[in-house]
Amino acid sequence: MELDQLIFQKISNYFSKRRKVDPAVLARTVKLEEIHGRLTIMARALCGEAIDIVTSEREGGWKDRVFFLPKQMNLFPRPEDNMLFYYFRVFYLATQRKLGLNYHTAREEHSIAQAGEKARETSEQVLKALFAEYPRLENIYHQLLDELPRTDEKGNEIPPDTSWLYGRWMKNEANAGPDEAESISAGQKTQEAQANDITTTLKAKQADEIEVIEVDKQSQENYTLTHNFEKVETVDEFNGSWRDFDGDDQLADESHALSEFNLSKVVRVDDPVHSVYQAEFVGRATIAESKEQDSPGFFLHYDEWDYSHRTYKHNYCKVFPQKALRTQPDYYLKTLEHNRSALLHLRKLFARLNNERMKQRRMSKGENLDIDALTDMFADLKAGHTPDERVYISSRKRNKELSILFLLDFSLSSDGYARGNRIIDVEKQVSILFGEVLNEYLVDFQIDGFFSKTRNNTTYITLKAFDEPWDKAKMRIGSVQPSGYTRIGPALRHATALLHKRPSHNKKWLILLSDGKPTDYDRYEGRYGIEDIKQALREMQTFGIENFALAIEEQAKYYLPQMFGQNHYNILSSPLEMVTALAKLYRRLMK
């Protein structure tokens, strides 16, 4: 760090520490993150679509399926009113969205002030519709309007800032075409990036409209210092001059400068990183589509569903089926050791289930008498009929006509933690425990996993194939490490094909263990991804294959139901719960 930076930092620290927040303000502040879940559900109920709620720079607005709301609110004197403000905004935005009041094409240029002006102009129309539909909001609106502060910090009179109530207009982007194809070389550099540890993570300031621009390699190479007194290291808004990317970890040093900085343009690069500057944004970042690429090795083509055109993109995705070869016996043994009680529990459950199942009534011989049959026999005898002699209960073993495929999500998101458990470990441990028991009870099952890197590369790893002995396969499960993204569609389609090959009289189930959120480097996010998965699940049903999803991340409740539908998913918090849930599911399958 340079001397001038150091001095600036010290001074800035000194002042920021001195700036105290009034405890009264703190007490009445309502933070968006605390009520985020609630507002999301509310917005979804009001709009009937999968609306997401995102923090905005200031007053916010709506864009496609996203509502932007302020990070926190303390303008109103009581906490209830600050809360009401959020409710009011959700209702208001839902109405505004219904009326379609927004900038519709990306070409309509506007400044922030203009966007605010536009929102004010149309507020009357929105309010009219709002009060007509929800009469109670009229009082709330007037109350909020009255309570907007009319003095500034110094006590001077100012007009109330109504932009908080009306928000501002935003640009819709859903219809932006996929014309700007971008070539992505998922090459060595990206892998390098994943291998390198990330040492610093910083959260970015909220920015509503971020644009993804392409790297202009030419200007980057041509870049020279254009000014004699320009500093080499500085944080500045992008003004068209390109510099080189180096991927050094300097983020911690620059954090102060960054906190003053507005994010408005981003690029996509392959350089390895050491620092993460986290920004929450939606927009055209996901539009880029990758070009067809030649790939070495054996692969299969699968279609992908494009919901906006309601057609399939034929042979759009490549799936590389692989067999896991590396083994990690340690992992297997440790899992058994650490989860001894869970395994015991599972064994008991299965034993009970199987006893229940294997009991066959009305047999001509068996260990136990069937009381119902005996009563009937007695009644028949009394009535003068020839009684049925099959009065025994037998516990003959029956073959379970069931094929289960476990599909694990090995993408990088499984590297995260949910309630103190590393997601991928939960996935692996649960499949080991389950494999152990299913193997004992001779159930036909397979354990696979997947991750993706663009449509050109979905890796589908088979850990245990249907016809493979468990004793060999169980050692492999520990060896998988998270990597890549979550393009669930192609993996589901491949799994469907595998299940379809099993004997046709079997009941077939696919069980997905994932956070369920579709993501990929190229445009497999939000609605597009969800619709593709839905379509893949529909295809599965036509083959007579049923599905179920299990997730351990809380957030999953906002998107799993959209894809899997009621009764076909479960969100859990620990491996033990997951084991129990799976056992319960197994019981339902057997019935």
Binding site: R38, I41, I371, D372, L560, Q566, N567
Partner: protein, 296 residues
């Protein structure tokens, strides 16, 4: 070799349980009570489409009917209403996991030193020419489906294996079944071969106008409140795909209306009759409570 483990229960306790069950069954279907199956007062039913016409034609043509739809959309009420319109006896059987063909067809029971054959509800309906309504038929054991198959096609026959006889259904016998397609999808479904034997009617949530009329009529509340309840219902129904397992039925809204009518605070009524029955998830509960508070 014979032994009884504890889970099986001792023969006497099981027998006791059985007799109790049978007494109850006997009571329910004893001849003295037969009158009660006849519906004297017209049950309120507001048609949402041309379902009444369909039902009447199916009845004329001796075709069985399958009512599909989520809970609380008026399937059972519709059947009652039709039974009243057609002036027929109605026998309702709520099917569950343990409902077997014996429960429907009948069984021998022991009275003193004799055995007596006791007709089940289906046999009685076939003999007497009544409407039998099998509610949630997909829940019942598979042998129930087997038992009704010959009744649902041109044969209209009921086989009673225990008596070694078959009964031709009376011309005015009608079979109605209901089935909730969303619930237990994949786990318990009707086979296509079964479904194709029925004329099927889909029941959904009624249009706003119709629904508010139903609520106003059933609960005696004013029109404006009924409309607001309907609006609440519609908004919450938006969440079906987004995580609510079962959503607001007209029945729930009617319940809320009834509570409001007898003087319970409106918001409390909606909260307890509509929101709380739907979910236990704290976030969803809070969100729905706050939203409904703002809407009524």
């Amino acid at each position: 070799m014979m032994h009884c483990n504890r889970k099986e229960m001792s023969p006497s306790s099981l027998f006791l349980k059985n007799t109790r069950g049978r007494n109850a069954a006997q009571r329910r279907f004893s001849p003295q009570k037969r009158q009660s199956m006849f519906i004297k007062k017209e049950p309120y039913y507001k048609p949402v489409g041309r379902e009444i016409e369909v039902f009447e034609h199916a009845f004329k043509n001796k075709l069985p009917i399958l009512l599909k739809g989520p809970t609380g959309t008026g399937k059972s009420r519709f059947v009652e209403h039709m039974a009243y319109r057609l002036q027929k006896d109605l026998i309702t059987v709520a099917c569950h996991e343990e409902t077997s063909s014996t429960d429907l067809i009948g069984r021998f029971i022991i009275k003193g030193a004799e055995t007596v054959w006791q007709d089940g509800p289906l046999t009685r309906a076939v003999k007497e020419g009544a409407i039998i309504y099998l509610d949630e038929i997909a829940e019942a054991r598979p042998d129930v489906i087997v038992a009704i198959h010959p009744l649902t096609d041109f044969r209209r026959l009921l086989y009673i294996d225990k008596l070694g006889m078959e009964i031709q259904a009376r011309p005015d016998f009608m079979l109605v079944a209901s089935f909730n397609p969303g619930y237990q999808k994949g786990f318990k479904e009707l086979k296509p071969s079964t479904r194709q034997r029925f004329v099927s009617l889909s029941f959904g949530y009624p249009q706003a106008q119709v629904e508010s009329e139903i609520i106003a009529n059933e609960s005696q509340i004013d029109d404006a409140t009924a409309k607001r309840l309907v609006k609440i219902g519609q908004k919450i129904r938006n969440l079906t795909e987004l995580g609510l397992a079962e959503t607001v039925s007209t029945r729930l809204l009617v319940d809320a209306g009834k509570l409001i009518h007898t003087g319970l605070n409106k918001r409390l009524a909606v909260q307890t009759a509509v929101v709380e029955p739907l979910t236990d998830d704290p976030d969803t509960l809070e969100a729905l409570k706050d939203m409904t508070d703002l809407m009524i």
